[in-house]
């Protein structure tokens, strides 16, 4: 009775109508939206709400990136060369953008472990799920640590939101705003995943057998990775 596959609004005093298998494709799309009740069939409400939150977050990040595009297009000063700004000297060689590349691989790996955690959750492999989620959170924390290193390196070189020695003043404002907001998302994700992971490990979801929370947390985490794909392409590589 604690199972809410389609949301908690279950009317108790009548038997749920025997629902025929909903048709798929375009006809299914039309019928789902015109049925004057739940449109998102076979989608738990928590998951639908997370998707809608992520949709709103998409708009926030897109506004940042489009704003960055606008200031970069309008400035008459040269834009700093990100390839050099984010280069690191390793073993005597200056390697362009290497820290960002490593951060990208760390975040992709965390997405991989998260996807497997979701899979194991639905197989009800509790310990594996919890450990994979903790691994995801650890990789996320590593990412934030590297970002803190990157920030302090740039601040040390004199990059500020209102100016920098390398060129267009708008570079600093875009950099701190975009990576800062993304880093905040990663940090929140680390806390969120850790909480869910500990609950999974303690067996909190064993009684209901409902491990949707893991998939919902996973959606958030994959979204954070998704945003980084766009930041990596537009801010660091462009």
């Amino acid at each position: 009775m604690a199972l809410f596959p389609r949301g908690p609004a279950v009317v108790e005093n009548r038997a749920p109508p025997a629902e025929p298998e909903a048709p798929g494709g375009l006809q299914g799309f039309y019928l789902d939206w015109s049925s004057d009740r739940e449109a998102f069939k076979q989608v738990p409400w928590g998951k639908a709400m997370m998707w809608i939150f992520l949709l709103s977050d998409t708009f926030v990040f897109s506004c940042f990136l489009i704003g960055y595009m606008a200031v970069r297009m309008t400035t008459t000063e040269p834009w700093p060369n990100t390839s050099e700004v984010f280069a690191l000297t390793l073993a005597g060689h200056s390697i362009p953008l290497i820290l960002i590349a490593i951060m990208t691989f760390v975040l992709i790996s965390s997405s991989g472990t998260m996807a497997m955690a979701v899979n194991f959750a639905y197989r009800r492999a509790r310990i594996r799920t919890g450990l994979l989620m903790l691994a995801t959170a650890l990789l996320g924390a590593t990412f934030v640590g590297m970002q803190a290193f990157e920030w302090s390196k740039l601040i040390g070189e004199g990059v500020r939101p209102w100016g920098n020695p390398e060129g267009a003043a708008q570079f600093g404002a875009s950099f701190f705003m975009i990576t800062g907001f993304h880093g905040l998302h990663v940090s929140i994700g680390v806390v969120y995943l850790s909480i869910v992971a500990l609950k999974v490990l303690r067996g909190h979801y064993e009684s209901s057998g409902n491990y949707q929370v893991v998939e919902i947390a996973g959606l958030y985490w994959h979204f954070v990775d998704l945003v980084w794909v766009f930041i990596f392409a537009f801010f660091y590589l462009w």
């Binding site: 596959p5 008459t76 953008l97 899979n119 491990y211 949707q212 990596f232």
Partner: protein
Amino acid sequence: MEYTQGQQHPISLYLKIWGLLFILSTLSYLVDYFQFHGLLRWGLIVTFMLLKAGLIVSIFMHMAWERLAIIYAILIPPLCLLVLLGMMAAEADYIFLRRLLFFGSGG
């Protein structure tokens, strides 16, 4: 009652996508490393970016197996952003030309 919710895919699928994402990231990093320029650079960056985004959304976020009702509800609205993008780009072009005119190209 056993939960029939959730999707069962073989773990190997996720490992393959993980590998593909690694390869695509390496490729986009190499675009910078080999200092490609111009249209080739932008074309490659956007191609690799869209491929990565597509893999993450469709496989990792399971969008490929959802019903059209939620796919359209989530994926269509962001297309409005392309309109904003186009308007801001046109506006930025104009501002840039004005600045060149009034400040001179030296800034």
